[in-house]
Symmetry: C2
Subunit: 444 residues, 2 copies
């Protein structure tokens, strides 16, 4: 029974760890000026891996070497070096911590990984997990998206422009015929992908899953003939895991060509189960409602860009990234971080198609293309179904805006050839950097 | 196609709703003095049920009547009535909102309920969901805990005193023999229930699930003979849902008499699937690590007492309530709210046994009994396995403290007859209201 030595010995600012054996977790932490951040960081690393608040005999140095997490970086922000520059007594200091967790502690078990990197410490009042760096060996345990951007473009036969998605509005409370009609109109008007609202339950009595899928897919194929294209329809199968697989099977049996789940509400493990199931042969969309319970606070929880990265790892083909618009006031820098987490190179994992939604209307399209290029899905629910001439005109207005913006044409010019676009611009206007600047002071 | 009327008509301060048809959700919201809270509350209610940010034709009054959520209470805190008493221009006002959701929108589908009550609005910067009131008809869809407090007491044959739990420490990194030995010692010393640490993964190579359960249960029955009692062992089966059921089956096949999951990491739906599975015939423990990602912020997410209520609804027999101690600095009032959510009358749902853990040691026992009585489990990991004379002595010290406190005997008096207790008190002291008051200014 080895005597437990000073925590500084094994767990602090470790160097030379095998990078393939560890995931590196980045935290933001705030603490009072009096805090010994070295000790606090080590306590966090030990507490979230092998140890507890008091020494216990079997926590030997050997065990710590193999299983304890190690602090690999403590960065003050700003980085004080002199007592004279410290804030006054009641001051707080901000830090970025980097902690290496041996991933054989949890394997590729995502709920156990979350329990380790942000389990009990999620109750610390000023700690937020910002990122996790995964080594190749860890990422290789995951299949990731089955389709990704390229696979979905291939299926639809649409290249070189943003896709158009329309979520059916109202969210719930209507029979399948109403939804099917709205789907038909939006798809015939030019929408590539129709989705259920995240609030439409699979088993709601007025619009049951099987009947909904049957009628919607029939409406989709009617629209497909008219537009000489294809339509993806993601049916919301969100439920407890046992029911989830059953819902997926029922949806596929009824002819669904894509599925949707509210990922934060069902959990990453449930998403992965679906994504890696061999019999799920259609794209999977992850809606992010409820994620705000973990990400909205600047001081706790899980950063939204990390949540996006994890959903990609778990296999989301499509992922909702809330538009940097007036509806939710998402910071543009966060919007872009989420976007990049979904599409940037990440070992063998295919890029996840970002759905940009939340208050999107035709007048926002040029702004979005300027921001992220053409590899995204423009999601418009209200702006399609709330168009003065109806859903079909609403979808056409969006598509005309997309096509014009891709040609580099001014929307007002384009609207001269499109009554639908003109009416949309009249109703909702043009969204520009200036609208954004009204909400935030930005430099550019 | 009805014209959509003013939102005030249908959704504001509705009265006379059928109480069996609605769940009532309580939110805290903060907004600037200039905000029209009536409009904002209605927007929230509509957005989270039937509608969107712009009017759409099919969202008829009929649909709203049946499917829109309705605001049933807006309470200023404080409650301003005169312009003269309002804060200055930059001021913020606090509100408690009560919103009634027709629960046929989501049925008893918990992920869909969460998506509705705190889905997209979880991205509002100053909104936290505090409580949900469930009507009987809704609660009756749930089985709740299979065992609860009475069932677990019955199984163990222990009445009239707090149970003693010990989590095995170190958390991870040891082979089954080491864990089995620690279990044996703690159980023989008087622990009623041994649990894996929440960080011990089911499939870690050094301590695989099946072998762990076999060796632990053998150690438990050795201890049971010595103490003439029974020992519950909750093995951590936390994993993605597909694997979860497999882990449960493997654990039961290997002889486990209880199971444990990290509920916030696997999701409430996954917990319920396990709890209501007819072939899971043992108590289920819900660990709350990762819940802090949703509850730590005072300004967003899900209040911890609501999370506890939901876990009880989903069927947790045992639930971790972090001690109001120095380790996590939980507010005593929050600790008590969680406690009450677990045990108070709730239709047919059995009370969930609260496990009070996190820095608990013998000197804290009288304080805890004074706070909540004897219907709780005292959870001690470090204080058992970190006892100077080892785990068996550590468990005995805890049991001696429990028995003394239940007799109303002073711990120092009791320690005269118990060397183990004396050594524990020497090492960790007595925890009292004063220690608590050192952290917070409290009135009592």
């Amino acid at each position: 029974m080895a005597e437990v030595s000073s925590p500084y010995e094994l767990c602090t600012l470790a160097e030379g760890l095998d990078p393939e054996e560890h995931v590196i977790v980045t935290y933001w932490v705030q603490a009072s000026t009096q805090t010994d951040m070295l000790a606090k960081a080590v306590a966090l690393a030990v507490e979230q891996s092998s140890g507890t608040w008091t020494d216990v005999p079997y926590e030997t140095e050997e065990l710590k070497t193999g299983y304890a997490a190690k602090v690999v970086g403590i960065y003050g922000a700003p980085d004080h070096e002199l007592i004279a520059t410290l804030p006054t007594d009641d001051g707080q200091r901000d830090y970025i911590l980097r902690v290496a967790f041996p991933w054989h502690n949890f394997g590729d078990n995502l709920p156990m990984m979350l329990s380790s990197v942000i389990g009990n410490v999620s109750s610390m009042p000023y700690l937020k997990v910002l990122d996790i760096d995964f080594p190749r060996a860890f990422a290789e345990r995951f299949q990731g998206p089955k389709f990704g951007i390229a696979g979905i473009r291939e299926y639809l036969g649409v290249f070189g422009r943003p896709l158009l998605n329309s979520m059916i509005k109202p969210c719930t409370g209507f029979p399948p015929e109403v939804g099917a009609e709205l789907l038909y109109q939006a798809a015939a008007g030019g929408a590539d992908w129709i989705k259920d609202d995240e609030l439409l339950a699979p088993d709601i009595a007025i619009c049951p899953l099987d009947e909904r899928v049957r009628q919607y897919m029939k409406a989709a194929s009617r629209a497909d003939k008219e537009k000489s294209g294809k339509t993806l329809y993601t049916v919301n199968i969100t439920a407890a895991p046992g029911k989830l697989k059953e819902n997926a099977r029922r949806a596929l049996d009824a002819g669904a060509n894509a599925l949707m789940v509210n990922v934060a509400a069902i959990g990453l493990g449930a998403l992965r189960d679906l994504a890696e199931a061999p019999n799920i042969t259609v794209p999977l969309m992850a809606h992010t409602c409820f994620q705000g319970t973990m990400s909205s606070s600047p001081h706790s929880g899980v950063a939204s860009a990390l949540a996006a990265k994890l959903a990609r790892l778990a296999g989301a083909d499509l992922y909702l990234n809330v538009a940097p618009s007036a509806k939710f006031n998402a910071l543009r820098e966060k919007f872009l971080q989420i976007h990049h987490a979904l599409i940037r190179p990440f070992y063998h994992l295919k890029p996840t198609f970002p759905l940009v939604g939340g208050g999107v209307h035709p007048g926002m399209v040029p702004y979005l293309i300027e921001l992220v290029g053409t590899d995204f899905v423009a999601g418009a629910g209200g702006a399609v179904h709330g168009h003065p001439q109806g859903s079909r005109a609403g979808a056409k207005a969006m598509r005309d805006a997309i096509d014009a913006a891709c040609r580099g044409e001014d929307l007002f010019e384009a609207a001269k050839k499109s009554e639908e676009l003109q009416m949309a611009l009249d109703k909702w206007g043009i969204y520009s950097e200036t609208d954004f600047a009204r909400l935030y002071t930005i430099d550019s």
